[in-house]
């Protein structure tokens, strides 16, 4: 073993030193002569004193960070206040739109909901004003209004569809909310998620309309939803929230197909011959 020692020493001396320094007290009296108590540390104390100037500048930088972060925090609070107003407005609007499930849709019903659209437009104007204070940071705070905006879009598209039978496009949605400025626009992904939410509403609508006696409704809804689903398949989605919502859309489609099938098989459709192409596809 003796001949191994020098090589071992050279290779591992760093390791042994650290180990012995940290974990063992060397008992060898030979070293007692060179024992210089804490002299090293007193000198290092001096170095910390030297570094008091950088420590000051360190403090200064972090102080600046703190004020900047606090500023963005207050901005965020202001945004959240507006967003919570948007949310409560949306809830009012939703409550009035939900009446379509109770009976056939009436113009008065839309009037009531449309008042809320104006309120929403004002709120989004407020939000845009706040964001004008920090240009280019739309996406920094995006998460604060994201889900609320998605529900707003779903509401708008649903209403638009009820009225016109068409899908409200992104641009039209932006116009309705007055979001056509460069600084504050409607994020396309938010719009698409909103459209997916809207499709979730359709199965229930179909069921209730049929119950209320509108037997042609399933055909229309099925046609629209089939188109919408096909259009969504044009998108190359990532594995994100939108993808998940889109995947859920096929269940809405299936439910509507089932309702249509039920109505058709019992001969309840107004006149069986005039059923459109899309409808026949969905039925089989």
């Amino acid at each position: 073993m003796q001949f191994m020692k020098p090589a071992f020493r050279n290779g591992f001396h760093c390791y042994t030193v650290s180990r012995s320094l940290l974990f063992t007290l060397n008992p060898n009296p030979f070293f007692a002569s060179s024992f210089r108590p804490i002299s090293r540390f007193s000198s290092s104390m001096a170095t910390t004193d030297d570094s008091s100037a950088p420590a000051l500048s360190l403090e200064k930088q972090f102080g600046e960070f703190r004020t900047q972060l606090e500023e963005s925090g207050t901005l965020r609070d202001r945004i959240r206040t507006v967003v919570s107003e948007i949310e409560s407005t949306t809830r009012l609007m939703y409550a009035s739109i939900l009446l379509v499930h109770h009976s056939r849709p009436t113009p008065e019903l839309f009037e009531k909901a449309k008042i809320q659209i104006h309120v929403l437009k004002e709120k989004y104007e407020l939000l845009a004003d706040i964001l004008r204070e920090c240009p280019g940071q739309y996406y920094r705070y995006h998460g604060d209004w994201r889900s609320e905006t998605q529900s707003v879009v779903s509401m708008l598209t649903f209403m638009h569809w009820l009225e016109t039978g068409q899908l409200l496009e992104h641009k039209q949605a932006e116009e309705k909310l007055g979001l056509n400025s460069l600084e504050f626009s409607l994020d396309v992904e938010d719009y698409l998620v909103g459209v997916c939410f809207m499709s979730n509403e359709l199965p229930r609508y179909v069921v209730n309309q049929v119950t209320a006696g509108d037997y042609d409704c399933p055909r229309k809804v099925l046609k629209f939803l089939t188109e919408l689903h096909a259009a969504f398949r044009m998108l190359n989605l990532r594995n994100d929230f939108l993808r998940k919502k889109f995947d859920g859309m096929k269940y809405d489609l299936r439910k509507v197909e089932e309702v249509y099938y039920d109505v058709k098989i019992r001969g309840l459709t107004p006149n069986g011959e005039s059923v459109g192409n899309q409808g026949t596809e969905g039925q089989s």
Partner: protein, 293 residues
């Protein structure tokens, strides 16, 4: 149902072709890209019935938007990964320093860091314009954090002070076109990078103690403590403080490790420290019993 699947797969095929082309061309020339998308769009609508073409038209716009966004995100993620990898190399290079080769090692590290800045960070700068800076933050944040870590680590070993955010940002200024908005690292990424720095400082401190550079270790200790203390005040104000809170815990661990190491040397090690500096470790090792090895 059969007809649906046939038409949809046809559809998907045409879409696939449509979406594939612009992706490939779009890096070659912007003008080419424009025309291909137009052609692609007419191609898609040609296969469809006319009733729903308006919806398809709108959706092809969204598809184009999403494709561009995803491509960009992918490029940013790649750039970020390259930055991470190469910044790590810089950090390893700094760890190679010892008492005798400090100057050369740090010179090399600085050169490597400059290469990271010029080669990889500049790629990010080109991608992140306007709102993308915040929109894609999640895609590039890890790389920037690592870069901040490497830059501050390097600078601490050289100057013994903290490299400030302004200083890092001023090195990034020349990378971007003067007409464009320059990329500036934001406070959040800087702070997240600093939080990681303590881990490296801990490793460095332990290494320095083993090497007998106790003054340096003490300096690292007080530096790490300062950073930790300052961060405790800032963290509650950060946007996504969850990430940062876990980092603060590990940070405290690191700081305590450095303190404990310094403590051990302080209490027990002071006897043989002078010998470590004497360039003759063998004479000292003779005294260690075999069991220790």
């Amino acid at each position: 149902m059969l007809r649906i699947t046939v038409s949809s797969s046809l559809h998907r095929l045409s879409l696939f072709m449509a979406s594939d082309k612009p992706q490939r061309l779009h890096q070659i020339a912007g003008t080419n890209f424009q025309t291909t998308t137009k052609r692609a769009r007419t191609m898609t609508t040609a296969t469809l019935t006319t009733t729903d073409s308006a919806m398809k038209e709108a959706f092809s716009k969204y598809a184009e938007y999403l494709n561009n966004l995803n491509d960009k995100r992918e490029r940013v993620v790649k750039a970020s990964r390259d930055i991470t990898m190469n910044s790590k190399k810089v950090i390893f290079q700094v760890h190679r320093l010892s008492k005798y080769n400090k100057v050369e090692v740090l010179e090399k590290a600085e050169k490597d860091l400059a290469a990271v800045t010029n080669q990889y960070v500049s790629r990010l700068v080109k991608e992140l314009q306007g709102t993308d800076f915040w929109k894609l933050r999640r895609a590039y944040s890890p790389g920037i954090q690592e870069y901040v870590e490497a830059a501050t680590f390097c600078s601490f070993c050289k100057n013994g002070t903290l490299l400030k955010l302004d200083e890092i940002n001023s090195t990034l200024l020349p990378l971007s076109d003067p007409s464009l908005q320059p990329l500036q690292i934001n406070i959040l990424d800087y702070l997240l990078g600093l939080a990681d720095l303590t881990g490296e400082l801990m490793r460095l401190a332990i290494g320095r103690i083993s090497d007998g550079e106790l003054e340096f270790a003490e300096k690292i200790c007080s530096f790490a403590r300062d950073i930790y203390r300052e961060l405790t005040l800032v963290v509650p104000h950060m946007d996504d403080s969850y990430d940062m809170k876990t980092k603060m815990d590990t940070m405290l661990q690191s700081v305590m490790k450095i303190e404990n190491a310094c403590f051990s040397v302080h209490v027990r090690g002071s006897e043989y420290i002078p010998l470590l500096g004497s360039n003759d470790p063998s004479s000292f090792l003779v005294g260690i019993p075999d069991i220790e090895l």
